[in-house]
């Protein structure tokens, strides 16, 4: 296993307020989604990974090193915070040059580095001469992304990078992140927009109430929640008739029907789908669409955090 972040019994408290509670997990190279509701501990974990917050107990290792007071490690990390605040009075090039200089890039190279990063973040050059206070949310997100990648880090940590972006913008950011991943960069991205993460990330870490509920690929995580019934949505011409027919077969735990659709809760989805042609052929109902809702990350997330 190629773990880039390893936490062992990690706890972080803000005074008496709990941030993370005894979490143990590994994050491997690739694109990992950090998922959890508000207050789950996502930002606390990101602060611990970037060395902004010392663990109250336990250990955390990032790229094999302790992140606290470790500038050489920070040189390998790019971080894009959730906060929208940037230096409004500055132009992006000036701000990025200052930050690049702090990242150890010689001053005479900072302009080129900043321009490349802005191009990579797909901020149009017509906006480079404007002060950032005049920027839209989406443009600010791109500048923030640019500052996190301009020093060519090995690990990029993005806290809600899709916030404020329209669907096209989110798709573009997704493409940029995939490109970076193809170039060998590892990415940890937290987001509330789960369906975006689903297509972007190969692995997930689900947090809630300061605890790590699950980590791994979406399939791995789904396997941990088998005790919950799968939710299957069916569109058909006679939902109530189909529900009664299936109930008689003793394969469903519950259903919810309206005029056009039927929701089923199934304990054993494999057996259900194996028998599906037989089940439906005897019902006399015309089926338009059938979908297992639990294949979606949103569903897994909702189950884990309920």
């Amino acid at each position: 296993m190629n773990a880039i972040i390893e936490a062992k019994e990690l706890s972080c408290f803000y005074g008496i307020v709990l941030g993370l509670n005894n979490v143990t997990f590994d994050i491997e190279a690739g694109i990992t989604g950090l998922v959890g509701p508000n207050g789950a501990g996502k930002s606390t974990l990101i602060k611990a990974i970037t060395g902004q917050l010392a663990p109250s107990s336990g250990t955390i290792s990032v790229l094999g090193a302790n992140p606290i007071n470790n500038p050489s490690l920070l040189a390998k990390i790019g971080y894009c915070p959730e906060r929208e605040q940037i230096r409004k009075e500055l132009k992006p090039i000036d701000w990025l040059r200052g930050l690049a200089s702090l990242s150890g890039i010689p001053w005479n190279e900072t302009r080129e580095v900043a321009e490349k990063a802005l191009q990579r973040a797909r901020l149009e050059s017509t906006h480079w001469g404007k002060r950032m206070g005049t920027y839209s949310k989406g443009m600010k997100q791109r500048v923030k992304l640019a500052q996190s990648i301009m020093h060519d880090p090995d690990l990029i940590i993005l806290d809600e990078p899709m916030n404020g972006l329209d669907p096209n913008g989110r798709a573009e950011i997704g493409e940029i992140l995939k490109e970076l991943n193809e170039q060998g960069k590892s990415i940890l991205v937290s987001s509330h927009i789960l369906h975006e993460l689903e297509f972007l990330c190969s692995r997930f870490l689900i947090l809630n109430w300061g605890r790590a509920l699950a980590s791994g690929s979406q399939i791995d995580i789904r396997e941990t929640v088998t005790e919950w019934p799968d939710e299957i949505a069916i569109r058909c011409n006679e939902p109530v008739k189909l529900a009664r027919h299936l109930q008689n077969q003793d394969l469903i735990r519950g259903f919810l029907a309206d005029d056009e659709s039927l929701k089923l809760w199934v304990s054993d989805p494999e057996s259900f789908f194996a028998n599906w042609p037989r089940l439906v052929s005897g019902s006399g109902v015309e089926i338009f669409e059938i979908r297992n809702q639990n294949q979606a990350l949103t569903s897994t997330f909702e189950r884990m955090t309920q």
């Binding site: 060395g51 920070l74 971080y79 906060r83 940037i86 000036d94 701000w95 930050l99």
Partner: protein, 233 residues
């Protein structure tokens, strides 16, 4: 970045207005007064009165504004020591404060030369030294207080009006830790003409020491303290 903000036309216009206002006011008050008040105003009102408060207000502003707005996260996650960032904040505040102080001092000295109140180069040197020492020390004290609390202006003013005076009146050598206590005899040497090194060199050394101790204390606190982000915090 703050230095870049200073290089604008609006800043130049603001400095020009400050220069004209100070020169005009000083010349007007001097002309209206029965006695010669030029050095009274320049020393007591400007150096010992206005300048410490100005430095207290401005000294920690760059650090606290980054903390208040949360933009400090972009700096903290760079491969730079927190102490280096702290000194960077001090230098950027100092550059901004010194620029304003320079314009004020230039206006005061120009007016002094025009009124015939300045007769020697040593008077200019001592006065510039006093202003520079005040700016360096009170900016350092301000940012050291700013590393502890967002209410650095309130605590800075309390420090200036109570602790400075209290320490300056102590009958032991501890009184040399008072910046104002060191500055007063130093500034008096401008009008008295005394050029004893105990009056001209020692106070600057003491003030330098206070500045260095404040900066080291501030850098240590800034390195180890954890700060909540957000407005008003």
């Amino acid at each position: 970045m703050q230095i870049r903000e200073m290089m604008s036309v609006s800043t130049a216009v603001r400095y020009a207005i400050v220069f004209i206002a100070i020169s005009g006011l000083l010349a007007f008050i001097n002309a209206q007064s029965n006695r010669n008040v030029f050095w009274d105003i320049s020393n007591n009102l400007f150096v010992l009165g206005f300048l410490p408060y100005f430095c207290i207000v401005k000294g920690a502003e760059s650090l606290r504004s980054e903390l208040r707005e949360g933009t400090i996260e972009f700096l903290w996650t760079r491969p730079a020591r927190k102490a280096s960032l702290f000194f960077g904040f001090y230098l950027s505040s100092l550059a901004s404060t010194l620029a304003t102080t320079f314009i004020c001092v230039l206006a005061i000295l120009s007016t002094g030369l025009w009124l015939g109140e300045i007769s020697s180069f040593s008077q200019i040197a001592v006065y510039v030294g006093a202003c520079a020492a005040t700016t360096l020390s009170f900016s350092a004290i301000s940012i050291a207080i700013g590393s502890i609390t967002s209410k650095f202006i309130v605590f800075g003013i309390i420090y200036h009006t109570l602790i400075e005076k209290l320490v300056g009146q102590l009958p032991t050598s501890v009184r040399h830790l008072s910046v104002i206590g060191n500055l007063r005899p130093y500034l008096d040497s401008i009008t008295s003409g005394v050029s004893d090194s105990a009056i001209t060199i020692q106070p600057l050394f003491n003030i330098g020491l206070v500045s260095i101790v404040s900066l080291l204390l501030g850098a240590t606190l800034f390195t180890w303290k954890s700060y909540p982000f957000g407005s008003g915090k």
